[in-house]
């Protein structure tokens, strides 16, 4: 029995998952600040607190995400692309395409039957179509990003958001507000815009079932439904979807430890 930890330091949140014997024993999620090393430490401590296990019992810690090199107490680092592939395969073994939409990144990852990355495509050097895009636009409506999903489900006449630039889309949202459009219709338009952008990335790697949706934006029911509708495919979303990178990191660490031991 080997207790392993995966620590995912993303652009907006730090996530940690503890795995032993193929089971998730503990997890944590908290916003990141400017001191990423401390955030990483804290995320591991919080996850351990859920399990009642001690730091000394963790055999391997693996860092992932943009802040992976700040997991200074870890043994390995793996990019979030490799980790989302591995994590999605763990949760849904028949996954062939992973869509991950995080704070500043959107990734479409094609994987094989072993959960290995075959191909990937990511958004360009701007936050269009990412969690930050929704965050900023929700702010323009005086809403919290967590409200977008449920509110958007009531839309009857979704607007068309044509701008993919976050800054311009915010102006477009303000323009719709001034024209008297309802918030739920604007939110549905924003969700559709995110999905359109994601689909073009997914098409780059080739769409085939099963599709697994991960990252913070997968908590937005409006995006999940629109994605499924546009794909004409069921979309896997786990309650642990925000932890998929950390799960993958923990599993990569375990594999590496075993490979090194043999």
């Amino acid at each position: 029995m080997t207790l392993v930890a995966g620590v995912d330091i993303g652009s907006t949140t730090a996530k940690c998952v503890l795995i032993e014997n193929g089971k998730i024993l503990g997890k944590s999620l908290a916003p990141v600040g400017v001191e990423l090393v401390k955030d990483a430490e804290r995320s591991l401590e919080q996850a351990l607190a859920e399990t009642g296990r001690g730091r000394g019992e963790v055999a391997v810690v693996t860092g992932t995400g943009y802040g992976r090199f700040k997991v200074t107490f870890g043994q390995y680092t793996v990019t979030e692309i490799g980790c989302h592939a591995k994590g999605a395969h763990f949760l849904f073994p028949a996954t062939r395409v992973v869509l991950d939409i995080g704070g500043q990144d959107t990734k479409a990852i094609k994987i094989n039957e072993k959960g290995e990355v075959v191909d990937f495509a990511m958004n360009d050097k701007c936050a269009a179509g990412t969690g930050r895009f929704l965050d900023v636009c929700a702010g323009a409506l005086g809403l919290d990003v967590s409200e977008i999903g449920s509110l958007s489900l009531g839309a009857r006449h979704p607007v068309k958001v044509t701008n993919t630039c976050t800054v311009f889309a915010e102006s477009e949202v303000s323009s719709y507000v001034s024209r008297g459009k309802e918030a739920k219709d604007i939110l549905a338009g924003l969700n559709a815009s995110v999905v359109s952008r994601s689909l073009s990335l997914m098409q780059r790697v080739g769409i085939e079932p099963e599709v697994t949706f991960t990252g913070g934006v997968s908590r937005n029911e409006g995006v999940v439904r629109t994605l499924g509708y546009r794909l004409k495919l069921p979309v896997n979303v786990s309650p642990l979807s925000q932890y998929v990178g950390a799960i993958g990191a923990a599993l990569h660490g375990l594999e590496r430890k075993e490979a090194t031991a043999t």
Binding site: G74, K125, R204
Partner: protein, 426 residues
């Protein structure tokens, strides 16, 4: 496998020193002209007519090469910003904006002053923006502009009608040069110059071919770019021809001693696209950390696809120059470019392809997305496409580029099933 600390790039010591000296001397001569000033012709690298204009006593300036020298020395941005202040848009080619900004600011660079043109020669039809660039310079300097219409290559070998068409244009061009310089065309002199070109080309090909060896004794993208200067700028001189003898002697020494550019070769790559000169060393470091070496690349062939069987033929000077211009890499249709890359992967035993797209250049870059898809989906060759710019540092996002490259090498490594290495901090 984890990325390791990047090792310092190792050049061919003597050849690199020699190349530096040649570059310095070239720019010094341009600036001082050493006696009676030679007339200056501006030309593009792809399919250039350097031998012809040199035979009429012209000095040649390649503003693309001035541009890359500015970028690698981190002085391109002020020129670009100046051009933008004159009204050139964000999406206009970085080479164009660097040059037009530089010219407006007086032509002074850290490596010498670039003289204004007496003649502008555009012998490359592949990029419409380039024609507009030359038109802007013609207007600024009031000098003549000669545009040759070079048909795109639709088949592997130049078509007879294309050759005939281009040779006719070369004859017109020579008549114009005779008129402007008051000199007669000296076919014997051109043949002599082409002998030198051919010798340099053969040496360059020998250098590039050594990328087939395992481990590769050359870095066919990052390192080769330094050794491109003589074949592109000084082709036709004895100096350039001799240079490659020095290069190849040092490569032979690398083979003998096993001291290769990447100490432990893990991944062999074919690289397509113009380099991000503004962050050249950073980009190269992203390769070296993973033990990745480029064994073949298309970019060093922009001045001529000499490694595919063509060498200038002094016995048929004009026909040979026409064949050369037609066969330039950038003048190849996309099916031919794709085929070439496929052949490089096969012939050089590459594991993968890396494509670097240029944000401000649609001419070279358009089609690279399809190339990526074709390599991955039709041929099953792992391929990574990343994008920044050759001249504009604002487009180079190191964290994102590194992340993509790390993920790509991780996936190659994982699929190969190699033993992981201990972690070394980034």
């Amino acid at each position: 496998m984890e990325p390791t600390e990047g090792t310092e790039p190792k050049f061919l010591a003597t050849a690199r020193d020699e190349q530096r000296r040649m570059v310095d001397e070239y720019y010094t001569n341009l600036a001082t002209a050493g006696g009676p000033k030679k007339p200056v012709a501006y030309m593009f690298v792809g399919g250039n007519l350097t031998e012809i204009v040199r035979s009429f006593g012209y000095e040649v300036v390649f503003p693309e090469i001035v541009g890359l020298n500015c970028a690698i020395k981190h002085v391109s941005l002020p020129n670009i910003l100046h051009a933008e202040s004159q009204g050139y848009g964000l999406d206009v080619c970085g080479y164009v904006k660097n040059d037009l900004g530089l010219q407006e600011l007086g032509g002074q660079t850290p490596f010498g002053r670039v003289p204004p043109p007496d003649l502008l020669v555009c012998s490359f039809s592949g990029c419409y923006i380039y024609v507009k660039w030359w038109e802007a310079l013609a207007e600024k300097f009031g000098c003549p502009l000669v545009v040759l219409d070079v048909p795109y290559m639709r088949a592997k070998e130049p078509q007879a009608e294309d050759l005939q068409y281009l040779v006719a244009q070369l004859n017109e061009f020579i008549a114009l040069l005779e008129k402007r310089t008051g000199r007669s065309f000296d076919r014997a002199e051109l043949r002599r110059v082409l002998e030198n070109s051919r010798r340099a080309e053969q040496g360059w090909v020998d250098y590039l071919d050594s990328g087939r060896l395992r481990p590769s004794p050359i870095e066919a993208y990052f390192e080769a770019v330094f050794y491109m200067f003589p074949i592109n700028v000084l082709r036709g001189t004895e100096e350039a021809a001799d240079f490659y003898a020095t290069v190849n002697a040092e490569v032979a020494e690398r083979v003998r001693t096993g001291r290769c550019p990447v100490p432990e070769e893990k991944f062999r790559l074919v690289v397509e696209g113009v380099p991000p000169y503004t962050n050249y060393r950073t980009f190269w470091d992203f390769f070296r950390r993973w033990g990745a070496v480029s064994v073949a690349a298309t970019y060093p062939k922009v001045g001529g696809l000499f490694d595919r069987g063509f060498l200038h033929d002094p016995a048929r000077p004009l026909e040979s120059i026409a064949e050369y211009s037609l066969g330039a890499y950038v003048n190849q249709s996309w099916p031919l470019r794709r085929k070439l890359i496929e052949e490089y992967v096969r012939d050089f035993g590459a594991d993968a392809v890396l494509i670097h797209g240029i944000k401000s250049c649609r001419s070279f870059t358009a089609g690279q997305g399809d190339l990526r898809d074709w390599l991955i989906h039709d041929l099953g060759i792992p391929t990574l496409y990343i994008e920044s710019d050759h001249e504009d540092p604002r487009y180079f996002a190191p964290a994102q580029i590194k992340n993509r490259m790390d993920a790509f090498f991780e996936s190659l490594d994982q699929r190969r099933g190699s033993t992981p290495l201990p972690m070394v901090r980034s």
